[in-house]
């Protein structure tokens, strides 16, 4: 039953990827530039929680500390960097480059403090397994699924049921209109960055809990998540989450028919072709 | 006799909005025709359809007896039709002269191979084009501002530069989208004088215009558009005298 195992494995990984995609979707749909440093915020969450755990905090409190720190970091990044750049009329290219710089600062800062070694949380309960649907799943993997679904539902609730979420969607659909109708897009941007950054801390802890912490690990995950965000339709939280699941499952199942070294290449290859045929182009404004 | 510009049965639907509905009209050669109508009447959509920026769902455009259907904006300029934009779309980081140069249709040195392998030929052609560009700028009265960056020009100067830029293409039919909006006083008078001068030189003008005073002063013909449909056409006096049209124009929707 290789295919079933791969399918389940894909779904679990898809939930982790989905959390990153949902968090990035909130940010990208609102601010519309490529916040590459999100990958570094993802890394930050894992390391902060690791430190909290090593200082004797219980697991839930360590995660909470990570979430709060990431949220504050996200707000600070928006307020101190992106907003300033925006006020100076910076193009998106300039913001992208600044974001790449920030990424380098954060990742290397983490590497300088924690070394580049693969760190482990050292929580034995994480590796205990249960048989579910014919496949053995670890507690960490089950937590990933639970948090994945909760994050998705939480993000949907936030976007559609809360005042801030509604303001966020208004700003996303028409920034100019939002400006003149006193929706205060700048405040909305800060709030959305904080929420997206806080959210990405959850996979930022759960994935390393399973696979170990590395300072430079976030970029490939963010890029795959970004594909899900764009292919799923920017602004659509469901689209991002579902596409993340689809990509993860397909990457796993592709092993049935070909060697694994090509799965990343093919994922991005398909995406490039997709972008050629489903453009958001020149004259649609 | 075929009309200079003949627009027949244009329809265009954007989602639930019928932007153009069986829209037909003609423009006579050498005349100034004003396109009027309330906001959202489809005036800019007509411009887009004529100049190839928009493919209508149905309908035809003919210019001097030749069909323009399915042609790209670029090809349509080569037929002798050029347009301006309501929001100007000047190249803000280029000088006024370079904006005009960009409109010139002499393509020497506009490809990389010519630029690299025939540098002297390119330089000579460029010098000639710059002289021509200066002449065009002089024509609209901007010769003193040739080296200024567009972002440093006044709004009125920018409006004039828009016209200069399409004059540089050598087009015979000029489609001007609100050339006087936002202008008053001397600047307004200057643009109006330029439009008459262009007419005197043999150009044909199709102008989107909101200011009824301007329409009265410059238009030979007026086309009244409403909900994407040509509601009326005639002389300025006839259109302005029609109380029904005035009601639509000033009183909002009918």
């Amino acid at each position: 039953m290789l295919w079933l195992n791969l399918l389940i494995n894909g779904l679990v990984w898809g939930c982790a990827l989905g959390m990153v995609a949902v968090s990035f979707s909130l940010i990208f749909a609102t601010t519309r530039f490529f916040h590459v440093a999100h990958a570094a915020v993802y890394g930050l969450g894992g390391y902060v929680s690791w430190s909290a755990l090593k200082h004797g905090l219980p697991e839930w409190a360590a995660l909470l500390v990570g979430i709060v720190v990431c949220g504050l970091a996200g707000a600070a990044i928006q307020k101190l960097l992106y907003e300033r750049l925006d006020r100076r009329g910076a193009t998106h290219l300039v913001i992208l480059i600044a974001s790449l710089g920030l990424s380098a600062v954060m990742q290397n800062g983490i590497a300088a403090i924690y070394t580049s070694n693969v760190l482990q949380y050292g929580l034995p309960w994480g590796n205990r397994t249960t048989i579910i649907g014919g496949a053995l799943l670890t507690n960490t993997q089950m937590l990933t699924v639970v948090f994945g679904i909760l994050s998705y539902l939480g993000a949907m609730w936030f976007a559609h049921r809360t005042v801030l979420g509604k303001r966020m969607r208004a700003v996303a659909s028409n920034p100019f209109l939002a400006e003149i109708t006193r929706l205060q897009p700048r405040q909305v941007h800060i709030a959305v960055m904080a929420i997206g950054s806080a959210l990405v801390c959850i996979p930022g802890v759960l994935v390393p809990l399973d696979l170990g912490l590395q300072p430079f690990g976030g970029v490939p995950i963010l890029l795959t998540a970004t594909i899900a965000v764009i292919a799923g339709g920017v602004g659509s939280i469901s689209g991002a989450f579902v596409l993340a699941l689809v990509i993860a499952v397909l990457q796993n199942l592709s092993l049935l028919v070909m060697p694994g070294e090509w799965s990343i290449g093919i994922t991005f290859g398909i995406f490039v072709i997709f972008m050629l045929f489903r453009p958001r182009g020149l004259f649609t404004g | 006799m075929t009309a200079y510009l003949q627009v027949t049965g244009l329809n265009k639907r954007f989602g639930g909005l019928q932007a153009l509905r069986d829209c037909s009209f003609t423009v006579g050669q050498g005349r100034i025709t004003c396109l009027v109508g309330p906001n959202g009447a489809g005036k800019t959509t007509i411009f887009n359809a004529i100049t190839g920026f928009l493919v209508p769902d149905t309908g035809h455009v003919e210019f001097q007896g030749r069909s323009l259907d399915g042609q790209s904006p670029q090809q349509i300029v080569h037929h002798g039709i050029a347009r301006t934009f309501q929001n100007l779309r000047l190249f803000a980081d280029l000088t006024a002269r370079d904006n005009v140069l960009a409109g010139m249709q002499d393509h020497v040195g506009e490809g990389p191979l010519g630029a690299i392998f025939r540098p002297f030929h390119t330089a000579r052609a460029l010098a000639a084009k710059q002289d021509a560009a200066m002449a065009v700028l002089a024509h609209v009265g901007l010769q003193d501002r040739a080296s200024a960056l567009v972002r440093n020009l006044s709004y009125g100067e920018q409006k004039l530069l828009c016209i200069a830029r399409i004059l540089a293409t050598g087009a015979e039919l000029l489609l001007l989208d609100e050339p006087t909006s936002g202008l008053s006083g001397a600047a307004l008078t200057e643009v109006m004088a330029l439009l008459r001068r262009l007419q005197a030189e043999g150009k044909t003008l199709l102008v989107v215009e909101h200011n009824t005073r301007v329409v009265q002063q410059i238009a030979d013909d007026v086309l009244f558009l409403h909900h994407g449909h040509l509601l009326a056409h005639g002389s300025p006096a006839e259109i302005i005298a029609d109380p029904k049209l005035a009601e639509i124009y000033f009183g909002g929707t009918l």
Binding site: F34, I97, G109, A112, W262, G265, V272 | T51, G109
Partner: protein
Amino acid sequence: MDFLTTYIVLAEIYVLLGLSTNLLVGIVGIFSVSQAAVFGVGAYLTAFLLMHTALPFPVAVLLAAAFCVGLNILVTLPSLRVSGDYFVVTSFGIQLLATAVFTNWTGGTGGANGLPGVPAPLILGHEFTEPTEFIALTTIGMALGCLCFWLMMRAPFGALLRAIREDELAVAALGKSVLGAKVSAAALAGAFAGSAGGLYATFLSFVDPSSFDLDASIFLLTMVVVGGARTLAGSVLGPFVLLALPQILALIDIPTSIAAAARQLIYGLLLIVFMLFRPQGLLGEKL
């Protein structure tokens, strides 16, 4: 002084890459983060031709450059259909796809092992092995590249490209072919990157995927940004400054265990500071 000449040779190769990136990103405004992929194809192709055929060095480099012309047009095509922020992501995708091919196509690229033993250039019976000799080749390459760039920028072609960056629609309304100009620019950028690849492969005598990954593409972008976008001077200055930067940062005394990470951190900080306070770079125009 092989250290100095090696530095100059590498910087000159990177100037060609800087011109390539500047042309696309700075001048036409195409957000490409996959220029290292095209550079890599030029390097691998030159290495392959020199190792497996009897073609002389100049022919091999020309063939590689010609291939990169086609390739760069192909990878830039999505930018004609997709707007800026979406294209960045597409471009990241192209870069990762290229890295996957470089790493996994063992038959063509040597895979992750790379291709060692690329023969040194042999021109008119003389072998260019030492940096002191090789510098002649890269200097000629760089000079030709700069000349082309300068000629283009002063010709109407340059003005057309700048106009496209500002407003494609307006350019189309003036009867100009936006597609044609973009394709031409992409072709030239491909030729620059491809020939840089040929020089790079023969200078190091070794190619492997690590030189052409996402970090390399970002490094190219940084060079253009720090040097200055849209100017010839910026494209030349950027590579020289950025290649010297690690050596300058090495002078700062930091405990060895964190020194390297701290230097990378400072480098990131520089990017942010430039974007905040000097987006035009050292010698460029505002991005």
